[in-house]
Point group: C2
Chain length 248, copies 2
């Protein structure tokens, strides 16, 4: 079956189940071997890559839709997921989808609500669904050409994420359950694109007082063993309530 027939088939279900004109795009960030990664998919019939996305059930909260879409793509639950902007240009899909018949679901004009997620790279298994041919991590340094306005959406997500990172310690969401301060610092340096003072970074992070210090260390590498930390939900929530030093 060619993809047009397939899309026509799926179109019927989509019109039945989902709200027209509204879509969701997820920018899923991961971190692996000192590189920031983004999860991209390739739709059948498309040359360019795109963001994993989906639609909103007729009786579904948009946040729930985002959670569902993310889970269907990665199996991940309870990750950091935040809405950051709605995209409502006209002609967003003009150049990439105009080869499809007009009646097809995808040819609608969509207002897309962007969410970005921070996930543990190791815990995710990218899922290729029936309307796509690939779902892979791509390094942000060597992103392939992207369809529609997905590049813009990605950039807006990155900017938003960087901004948040500057004001709230959200970075650990990209790391495994247990991590070391050097790990965390590498991640911050990668995302922010600049080196940070090692000793001060450590102090600043620990000053947030939202980490659990483990007794064990990570053995194996040469040189001194770094201390393992994990994230303390309870303390973090408490810290958020009293404000995380973002005020006059």
């Amino acid at each position: 079956m060619d993809e047009i027939s397939l899309f026509e088939e799926r179109s019927k279900e989509f019109y039945k189940d989902y709200l027209p004109h509204v879509s969701i795009d997820c920018v899923v960030f991961g971190f692996h071997s000192n590189t920031l990664k983004v999860l991209l998919i390739r739709m059948k019939g498309q040359e360019h890559w795109g963001l994993p996305g989906g639609y909103v059930g007729k009786d579904e909260h948009i946040d729930d839709a985002a959670i569902r879409i993310l889970k269907s793509r990665t199996g991940a639950e309870k990750v950091f997921l935040e809405q950051f902007k709605a995209f409502g240009n006209t002609g967003r899909s003009e150049k990439d989808l105009s080869y499809l018949p007009e009646s097809i679901w995808f040819r609608q004009r969509f207002i897309s609500v962007g969410y970005y997620a921070l996930v543990d790279y190791e815990q995710i298994i990218p899922v290729v669904d029936d309307i796509s041919t690939a779902c892979e991590w791509k390094s942000v340094h060597e992103l392939p050409a992207m369809m529609m306005d997905h590049r813009q959406i990605y950039e807006a997500a990155l900017e938003n994420m960087r901004f948040q990172l500057n004001y709230k310690p959200i970075g650990y969401n990209l790391l495994p359950e247990e991590f070391t301060m050097p790990d965390l610092q590498k991640l911050y340096e990668t995302i922010l694109g600049k080196p940070l003072s090692r000793s001060n970074f450590q102090r600043k992070m620990l000053a947030y007082d939202i980490f659990i210090k483990h007794d064990k260390e990570r053995k194996g590498g040469a040189h001194r063993s770094p201390i393992l930390y994990s994230f303390d939900q309870v303390k973090y929530q408490a810290a958020l309530k009293t404000g995380l030093k973002e005020a006059w």
Copy 2:
């Protein structure tokens, strides 16, 4: 003509001109006599007040729709207008609009994109359109009961605006073309809900170096005449480019 007949009439146009399921709500802030104000409307047939809103033309950018809606309500153009969040609960209009026939435009499920605007109170003339019975400024301290989830939308806008205010000098958008530092400080104190140090406030603001200092002063009041300032677009844009000290 009762409002149901009217709505049925308008419904047809709306279905023809606008994208279904997508709406826009504007939280318009103004500042008058040391009080922060919000522009509210009352829809025909509704007991409670609501935010001025509208819909997105089938071939219109959502930002343009927001600008158009704001202009139609206030006559204001070129004001500070920013998208801050999309609201996509289910049953948003359940309790307030369920008395209307289901076929009516307003009974759709809407995903609403929230924008907030900062306008010069003096320059605005609230406009009552044909589907509403009132359009008035209300003090944020004594807001009336609001329809649907508009209270939540307002609160999200306020929070967002406060946050921005902490990091970027956007407050002057609420003042007339020419204003004094004491004016600006009163405004900040009102919005943030706490007193600020007078001398330090002045220094901090002037340090941004985005204001034009006028030679004249405001005469009339008792005591020393304050210096008039206005906002310097050019310097502000330049400052934004080099970054407004929000970084590591």
